[in-house]
Amino acid sequence: MKILVCVSKAPDTTSKIAFTNNNSSFDETGVNFIVNPYDEWYALVRALELKEAQGGNVTVLSVGGLDYEQIIRKALAIGADDAVRIDAPESDALSVSTHIANYAKDKGFDLILCGKETINYNGSVVPGMVAELLDLPLVALAAKLDVAEGVATCEREVTGGMEVLEVNLPAVISAAKGMAEQRIPNMRGIMAARTKALEVVSVENTTATTSVSNYELPPAKSACKFVDPANAAELITLLHQEAKVI
C-alpha cells in the first residue's frame, strides 16, 4: 500500500505569540516549531502501523521552505520511508492543497492521510480541498482507521456515539485524536533518517485566494475579584453590571 502523509509545522504550544508588520504577520523570532501533532501522532503513526502490518511505503509531504526540513527529518526518524518538500510558501489552504494535489495526482497513492487540522490556524480544510482537487472520496475526523482489501473502515465521533464509515481506496482521510498513539523517535530511527531520500520539488507559485489583513490577541485575563460571602448584593451587582451574565 502506498501512503502519502501530509505534515505541517506548528509553533510549540509554549511559544509566546506576537505579531509584526502592523499585526499582519506572525512573529517567528525565538519560536520553536514542531510537527503538527495531528499529522505526527495520528496520521503518520497510523500510516506506519498499516505499513508494518500490510507492507508498502509511507511518504511524507510538506509544502514550505527550507525551515521545513527539521520537521520532515523528525517524520523520517519516526519511520516514514521517504519525503517530499514542495518548495513553495504556505500562502493559504487552497494554495497548499493545490500543490499537494498536483504532486499526488499521478503517483498512485492508495491513501492520503492528513491531521484533522493544524493547531495554529485550525482551518481543517486542506484534506477536503485535496480530495476535491483529486476527485477522491474524503472521510474527515476519523478517530479509527483500518484497511482491508482496498476498503478503509473509519470510525468518527458523532453526537452521542460513533459513526462507522467505509470508503473505497484511493481516498483522503483526516485523522482525529485516537487514531494512533504518539511514537517517540529512537536513536536508530534518527540515524536512519540521515540517509533517507528527501526530494525537493520546485513549483510555480500559485496565487493565494485569501490573505490575512491582521491578527489580534485575545483580551488579557483580568484579575479575579473577591467578594465577601456575606455580601451577596455586591456579587449580584457585579454579575449584572460588569460581567453582564445575569
Binding site: 527539521q70 527529518r73 529512537n186 536513536m187
Partner: protein
C-alpha cells in the same frame, strides 16, 4: 509528583548553534523522559531502587555510548549530542543520568579506546543495546581523591590473572554484568581489567542508607582471589592516565547534566512564582523573588555557553582535562545554588515530593563529590594556571 510540565529555557537562543539532529535527539530524550520516567521517578527515589525496566528505553534514545562508532553498536554521534542526552536525563534525576554516563563514559569508553578488537566486538554492542549494564571500579574505601594509592591488585598466574581487593561507591554495581576495574600489577602499574558477573570470588553487595542518588543503585565490588582470563586485560593503556581519561568523558557529561538539574529547578520555581498568590499578587511580582529567578537564569545561561563551547572543543579534540574540570565544578555548584534558591521560593511545598527540587538538591550533594570533588577540581585549575601542584 505533579504532571511534568517542563519546558526548556534558552535565554541566549543557543538552539541556533545546534544542528537539527542535535535538537531532534534532545527533544526525543525529553519526550521519553516525560512519558516514561517522570511519572515514576519520585517513587523510585523513595524506594531507593533504580527502575531497571527503563534500560531498554535508555538504549533506544541513545543514552548508552552515543559517540561510540556504529560498527560497535553506538550511534557515532558527536560530543554535543552526548551532552544534550545527559542534560535531559539529569533534568529528571541525577541518578538516571549517572546510570547512563557510567555505562557510556566509564565502561564503553575505555573498552572502545583501550580494548582489543575482540573485546570491543564482545562487549560494546551488548552494552549499547542495554542487554548488559556495566560499572567502573576505581574508588576504594581508603582511596577516593587519591586513586593512585589504590591497593586492589592482580598477579600473573601464567594462564590467568588473580585479582584481589575492593572498590566502593560504585554506581550500577549491584546489577551490572560487566565491571571495568582498575588495579595494580606486581610492578605497581595500574591497568584496566574487565571482570564479568559470575566469576568465582566476585561479589557486588549493595550500599544502603543513601540520602542522595536514591534512584540509582550503588554498591561495592569485592574481589577475593578472582581468576580473570588474560584476554580481559585492556591492552591499550596503563597508568593512572587510563582511568583519568574516562573521568574526563564522564565529567564532561556531568557538566551538561548539572545544567539539566538546574533548568528543572528554575522551571518549577518560575511557574510556581507565577501561580502562587500572596498579598493579592503572584510571588513572582516581588523583587526578592525576581532577584532569585534573574540570578538563576543568568547562571544557567553562562553555564550553557561554557558547556557548549567545551563540547565544540571536545569535538575538535582540543578540550583539556583542566577545561573539563572547570565546567564540572562550575556547573554542579551552580546547580546546587539554583536548587537551593528554587526550594526556598516554593516555601514548604519545596520540601515535598510533589515537586522535584528537594530530590535534585539531595542528588547534587553526590554529584559535587563524585568524579572529582569540588575542591579537587579547584586544585586542578589552580595547578593549570600556576604550574604548582597543591594536591599533596
Amino acid at each position: 509528583m505533579r504532571t511534568d510540565q517542563y519546558q526548556g529555557h534558552d535565554y541566549y537562543l543557543m538552539d541556533e548553534l545546534l544542528t537539527d539532529e542535535h535538537k531532534l535527539i534532545r527533544d526525543a530524550a525529553r519526550e521519553w523522559v516525560k512519558k516514561e520516567v517522570s511519572p515514576i521517578i519520585e517513587e523510585a527515589a523513595e524506594n531507593c531502587k533504580f527502575p531497571q525496566h527503563l534500560i531498554p528505553g535508555l538504549a533506544s534514545i541513545g543514552a548508552f555510548g552515543p559517540y561510540i562508532p556504529e560498527e560497535y553498536g553506538g550511534a557515532g554521534l558527536d560530543q554535543i549530542a552526548y551532552g544534550l542526552i545527559m542534560q535531559e536525563l539529569e533534568r529528571c534525576d541525577s541518578g538516571l543520568r549517572s546510570t547512563a554516563s557510567v555505562q557510556s563514559s566509564l565502561v564503553m569508553y575505555p573498552i572502545w579506546k583501550y580494548g582489543s578488537e575482540e573485546q570491543r566486538m564482545k562487549f560494546l554492542p551488548k552494552l549499547a543495546s542495554g542487554e548488559w549494564i556495566g560499572c567502573f571500579g576505581l574508588t576504594e574505601p581508603d582511596h577516593g581523591s587519591n586513586p593512585g594509592g589504590m591497593t586492589t591488585n592482580f598477579k600473573d598466574m601464567g594462564d590467568h590473572y588473580l585479582l584481589n581487593g575492593a572498590k566502593m561507591w560504585i554506581s550500577n554495581a549491584p546489577f551490572a554484568q560487566v565491571a571495568v576495574v582498575w588495579a595494580k600489577n606486581e610492578e605497581g602499574r595500574i591497568h584496566g581489567i574487565i571482570v564479568e558477573r559470575g566469576m568465582e570470588g566476585f561479589t557486588t553487595p549493595t550500599m544502603h542508607g543513601k540520602w542522595s542518588l536514591r534512584a540509582s543503585d550503588t554498591g561495592e565490588l569485592i574481589f577475593d582471589n578472582v581468576k580473570v582470563p588474560k584476554e580481559n586485560l585492556l591492552p591499550g593503556r596503563s597508568g593512572l592516565g587510563g582511568p583519568l581519561s574516562c573521568l574526563d568523558s564522564a565529567r564532561y557529561g556531568i557538566a551538561w547534566g548539572a545544567i539539566g538539574a538546574a533548568l528543572d529547578c528554575y522551571d518549577v520555581a518560575l511557574r510556581y512564582s507565577q501561580e502562587r498568590m500572596q498579598f493579592n499578587k503572584p510571588i513572582g511580582a516581588f523583587q526578592l523573588q525576581q532577584k532569585k529567578l534573574a540570578e538563576m537564569i543568568t547562571e544557567i545561561t553562562k553555564a550553557q555557553l561554557l558547556t557548549l563551547r567545551l563540547g565544540q572543543l571536545r569535538n575538535e579534540g582540543r578540550a583539556t582535562s583542566s577545561m573539563i574540570s572547570m565546567a564540572k565544578r562550575n556547573n554542579v555548584d551552580m546547580a546546587k545554588t539554583v536548587a537551593s534558591n528554587a526550594r526556598q521560593m516554593l516555601g514548604g511545598m519545596g520540601i515535598t515530593g510533589e515537586y522535584p527540587i528537594m530530590r535534585h538538591m539531595m542528588n547534587l550533594e553526590s554529584v559535587i563529590t563524585y568524579e572529582g570533588t569540588h575542591d579537587i577540581h579547584l586544585l586542578i585549575t589552580g595547578m593549570d594556571v600556576t604550574g604548582f601542584d597543591a594536591f599533596k
